[in-house]
Amino acid sequence: MATENIEIRGLYKIFGKKAKSYVDAVRNGMSKQELQEQHGHVLGLKDINLTMPAGSIQVVMGLSGSGKSTLIRHINRLIDPTVGEVLVDGDDVCKMGTRALRQFRRHKTAMVFQKFALLPHRTVIDNVVYGLELQGVDKARQQEAGRRWIDRVGLSGFEDNYPNQLSGGMQQRVGLARALTNDAPILLMDEAFSALDPLIRTDMQSVLLELQAELKKTVVFITHDLDEALRLGDRIAILRDGEIVQEGTGQDIVLRPADDYIESFVKEVNRGRVILVESVMQSGEAANASLELKQNTQLEDAARSMTQAGTDVANVIGKDGQCCGHIQMGAVVSAMVRQDDEGPARQASSL
């Protein structure tokens, strides 16, 4: 599967009539509040620089109003930036003409929306093939691909229903099937699961992870839910007031929150399911260890295995199958339990 990486460089978005004329002021430190109160312009995004590697899931997390939905809409240019570049495999999306942009949207990207945004007057199958219809693919192939993806998201038998007849979870499966049928290397998901019940949301996350393991698309996933971000994201960027405050893997963010804001986010996280053995292991092979664990084992699973094996030390096996260190039960437990008196800086240095 061909994949494309996305690179965002120096992106600013200011909403208002004379947006361009305030870019320099914002660059020189004018705050969002100042811009709004004194000049009546809204700062949407400020100096965004982000590289999203091909074939992985990049989560952009933030609370409402943080600019995350604005950011994802720059990738397929549903919103035009005030200044900056959005490079997809080296091509700047912001410089494309109408025709090129349309082709780019048809062939390179597909999008899933928070409120599903299905066409209510079309049946499930006709919704799903919408992207192929725009691409001008012939009818037989449209139907074949549409039915295959409807089957993959578990909606076989509902092809001829209207969206209104389906539950929210099922409608979003249609939304996902519509995006996947498009066969685009980039999948943009704007709070795709936020409108669903918790159980169905977890279910849909599993569907996405399962499909991604096979398809290896470049996925950009927007969410306000940290648990969702940690579960799905190969990398996570956290947005606040239009700025990226931290970017890294889920572990980076949980173990080394950049500031108090993120710290307050990660407080409630189940660390045992985020932190991996490799982050807390010590170097050298332990001679007395009877148990071997892979380096990407979650701490919770490691603790369970060690308890079941009745041991408090295990060797860690790296990707190459060689032993790359060992881990003590004490270290596992102390990493799983948040140390309240530790500031972010000290926590980082203790690793």
Partner: protein, 297 residues
Amino acid sequence: MAEWYQEFPAMSRTGLRDLKKGIDNGFREWTREHGDTVESLFDPIKELLIWSERLLLNTPWPIILIAITAIAWLGSRKLSITIGTLVTLVLIGYFDMWEDTMRTVSMMFVCTLVSIVIGIPIGIAMSKSNVLERMVTPVLDIMQTMPGFVYLIPVVMLLGIGKVPGLLAVVVYAIPPIIRLTNLGIRLVDKEVLEAADAFGSSSWQRLKNVQIPLAMPTIMAGINQTIMMALALVVIASMIGVQGLGQPVLKAIANQYFTLGVFNGLAIVGIAIIFDRVSQAYGKRLQAHSEVVHGH
């Protein structure tokens, strides 16, 4: 107290007379010069009017009866409406109003067709441009509130009496709802669905054809329904400028105090109005069948 306080200081009588005369003469001269050209512009519509009237009058009545009943069935898929249509038409024929009714139906059909063909594109253009919306809305207000008789005058001055001026007067009166409701319907289309259409790479024509028009269709159908009703209302008034049909007996009844003649023809107009209203509404409702069945019901 000063005179200007008691009575509104109006323009002097001679001044006012000269003004009105000036405008009237100017327009009259313009119509004398260009009347023929303008009239020839409407020739295709005249042909259409004559063709449709001949079709309805020359076809034997049982075929028309069956055809209209069949259209009522195909449009509404409701037995009650279909039977109602059949009974109404039979009564109209029995009371010897068949020919006048056919003339009225023909006129109304062409007027509605012209209104749709002109009105929907204007509505679409309005929905795309706020400037255009601000410019067209007051014109529509004038068209809807100006008493019907008033714009019969310039039309008659320009084109004389007959079918085409009648059609013009009817269309001017009946077209505002379809323009307004097309504009409104498209503006009300869910922004998220439009965004999805864009995200998948729709051109603006594809967006219009696949999303905006279908989703605005219930509103547009309401506009068409209103246009039909208003066209029917003015077809009667237009009988004053020589439009044949059910309006003329009504006009005659008013002039001569023939009460029964007036009521019969009036009821025939009501009858066909109800037929067209119910059938077009039921058809509009069937178009949005997809929104009727909701999850959980």
